[in-house]
């Protein structure tokens, strides 16, 4: 995998010769063909100095090739990022995508099998105490001051309320370089550097629901009997279920992200009753399943992830990521550094994280409909029209393209849910891990078996 990436990058650098930096020839020892190396070297001759001046990153990795092993959930483990990182920094990223359960386990049990962990905040809450990650010194994070405050103080604007669940700011900091105890307020030691986050809601087929959808409880409408679905990943599904139950007035939670046993019982009993009444068509577990259910018309309203909505729409089928009155269920992920990293590798990890926040990746993620942690740098890497569409919620002036260059929205379209502030400002709860996790999972399995 890394070998391939290396070769591809080498070839590209040789061909395009543009934006070349010294970094590109770094993998010389790591198996680039002789021809690629020569061409790369030629490109380097002309561009090395200029390239560095533009990106402003040191070239130490060119002499001393560094590989960082990163693993995490599929959303942000993108090959494009590995390639660009190789090109800009000369750091080879080996990416492994796993599901969130496997990720949690690996952080705890195989501490030496990774250098960078790309995990969600609720996973961080679960695994940081295992001591396999080291907190990062924010003094070394170049754009720390510009990180969206959701991840530091927890407040998007000074007036906002911190949402329920595992809000990122509650697990973002520890008290010292060796501490495992989460600090209530920002300190110098950060557990995860945020990379990617979003606000999730229900997806609908506007052509088939036949009425405006305003609340989470609309999924219970008898008109949609046998045409709804929720996702069957217990830790996330239970949150969607909680949003539905609260909206329908079944129960009012003290904290949806940390239910009591009684609250879990009420929620699951209600789900079982709803399931037996035939309200659900199916439960999905993977991205593609949710896309197929929606695209085929088997369901008309269901839990969904934003790229799945885009995927349905790209088939020419209308699909809306419907904003709801009760707000969104948000999630976020970040990069953590393994405990065993030190010396040059640790420096490279910081280098990589600083690069991650420096704009290119941010723009890439924003263009997928996610949000990036440092908005100011991402803005510089997007066209004003793209920025206005994705972040300000304004109608697109031109066609909006995906990072791969496919038309996602035609001119005139408006993003579902509006601007960044409208969406991230209306978060009702964050994905979380509960104290009664094991009990919840057992009851959830009962729901699925019922």
């Amino acid at each position: 995998m890394s070998q391939k990436t290396t070769d591809r990058t080498g070839a590209k650098s040789a061909k395009s010769g543009a934006a070349g930096t010294a970094g590109k020839t770094a993998p010389a020892g790591a198996g680039v063909s002789r021809r690629g190396l020569l061409k790369g070297a030629a490109a380097l001759g002309g561009l090395a100095v200029g390239g560095q001046a533009v990106t402003g990153f040191p070239t130490v990795w060119a002499q001393n090739p560094i590989t960082l092993r990163q693993f995490g959930t599929g959303v942000s483990n993108l090959n494009a990022i590995a390639e660009k990182c190789k090109a800009d920094l000369g750091i080879t990223l080996q990416m492994t995508a796993l599901d969130s359960d496997a990720v949690s386990q690996r952080v705890v049990t195989q501490a030496n099998s990774f250098d960078i962990a790309d995990i969600e905040y609720w996973i961080c809450k679960k695994v940081f105490a295992a001591g396999t990650l080291q907190p990062m010194d924010v003094a070394k994070i170049k754009y720390y001051d510009q990180i969206v405050p959701i991840f530091t103080t927890g407040k998007l604007t000074p007036q906002s309320q911190i949402a329920q669940g595992t809000a990122p700011n509650t697990v973002s900091f520890v008290e010292g370089p060796d501490s495992k105890k989460f600090a209530p307020a920002p300190t110098q030691w950060m557990t995860l550097i945020p990379t990617i986050y979003n606000a999730d809601t229900l997806g609908i087929r506007p052509d088939l629901v036949g009425r405006p959808i305003k609340n989470w409880k609309d999924i219970l409408d008898p008109a949609f009997k046998g045409k709804t679905s929720i996702l069957n990943i217990p830790s996330i599904g239970i949150m969607d279920a909680a949003m539905i139950c609260e909206s329908a007035g079944i129960v009012k939670y003290a904290d949806k992200g940390n239910m009591t046993k009684a609250e879990i019982d009420i929620t699951i009993d209600f789900l079982i009753k709803t399931k037996q009444a035939g309200q659900f068509r199916a439960f999905w577990k993977t991205f593609d399943e949710s896309v197929n259910l929606m695209a085929s018309g088997e369901v008309v309203i269901q839990s969904m992830w934003s790229p799945a909505v885009a995927a349905v729409r790209s088939k020419g089928i209308p699909c809306v990521y419907q904003p709801l009155e009760e707000g969104y269920r948000a999630w976020g992920g970040g990069l953590g550094i393994a405990k065993h990293l030190k010396g040059a590798q640790l420096d490279a990890a910081y280098e990589y994280i600083n690069w991650y926040l420096s704009g290119w990746v941010g723009a890439y993620l924003n263009r997928q409909g996610y949000y990036s942690a440092v908005l100011s740098t991402a803005e510089k890497n997007m066209t004003p029209d793209e920025w206005a569409f994705w972040m300000l919620g304004q109608p697109a002036k031109t066609d909006i393209l995906s990072p791969e260059g496919k038309v996602m929205y035609t001119a005139g379209a408006v993003r579902d849910g509006g601007s960044f502030e409208q969406r991230m400002g209306a978060v009702a709860c964050w994905n979380s891990v509960m104290d009664e996790d094991r009990y919840m999972v057992r009851r959830w399995n009962e729901f699925i078996a019922a």
């Binding site: 599901d99 359960d101 949690s104 386990q105 705890v108 049990t109 679960k126 695994v127 295992a130 046998g226 679905s229 069957n232 217990p234 399931k275 659900f280 068509r281 199916a282 439960f283 999905w284 577990k285 197929n292 259910l293 085929s296 018309g297 088997e298 891990v433 996790d437 094991r438 999972v441 057992r442 399995n445 009962e446 699925i448 078996a449 019922a450």
Partner: protein, 283 residues
Amino acid sequence: MTLYRIAPYLQAAPLTLILAAFLVLPIATIVMVSFWDYDSIQIFPDFVFTNYEETITSPVTWRTYLNTLKYTVIVWAVTLLVGFWVAYYLAFHIRSATMQMVLFLVCTIPFLTSNIIRMISWIPFLGRNGLLNQSLMTMGLIDQPLEFLLFSDFAVVLAMVHLYTLFMVTPIFNTLMRIDRALIEAARDAGANAFQILTNVILPLAKPGIAIGSIFVVTLVMGDFITVRFMSGGQSASVGLMMANQIALLQYPAAAANAVILLVLVLLLVAAILRIVNIRKEL
């Protein structure tokens, strides 16, 4: 001299080693882990019975096992019925051996694609806006799409029958082919009608094949999780699916305990089949 004595052991050694490494050892590990303890992210070596206790005392387990047994019985009955008559037709109604082989190979054609693909291809066919519903509606037979076709027990059983019937056809066909045709002629000469020949001659002689086919189908259905998950749309549970969920949640000891229970249950079923039919005649 000594070589003569150890030669049989040497000959048996490769298979013994393979079975030890790939069958006995993994099962021993599963049994061992089933007694371990776990929390949400780790498992610890221990010797506790909580995994078995939690599994056996939970009503969900019982319901899931019953559901799995229900699938097993239905699928077994349908595959036996279909499988027997397909084999019967091939063995007794097709005269030329070449034609028999050709038709038998035709039966195996679906196996040229992966069973997951064969299963998933039912989904667009049976769906609300699928081919079947659309055709029925165009023909004017129904006004509303039939909802029970997909994401239901019906869909699960249908897909399993489709996937597993051949496992019934093959062994039954094999036993039927070995029946001495003279026996059937003798029965006819003795005045037996077609039904009597079937029940008194063919069925008793086909028993070993039926038993082998039944073992295949029963073990396959009992252990299935992917068909149940896809065809029921995640709405039904099976033991295999329950284990898959536990593994996904890192509850390996619980999954191992479940696996041991399932293994015991399936072995009991197989033992029961073998009690009724002596399949060694077949081998």
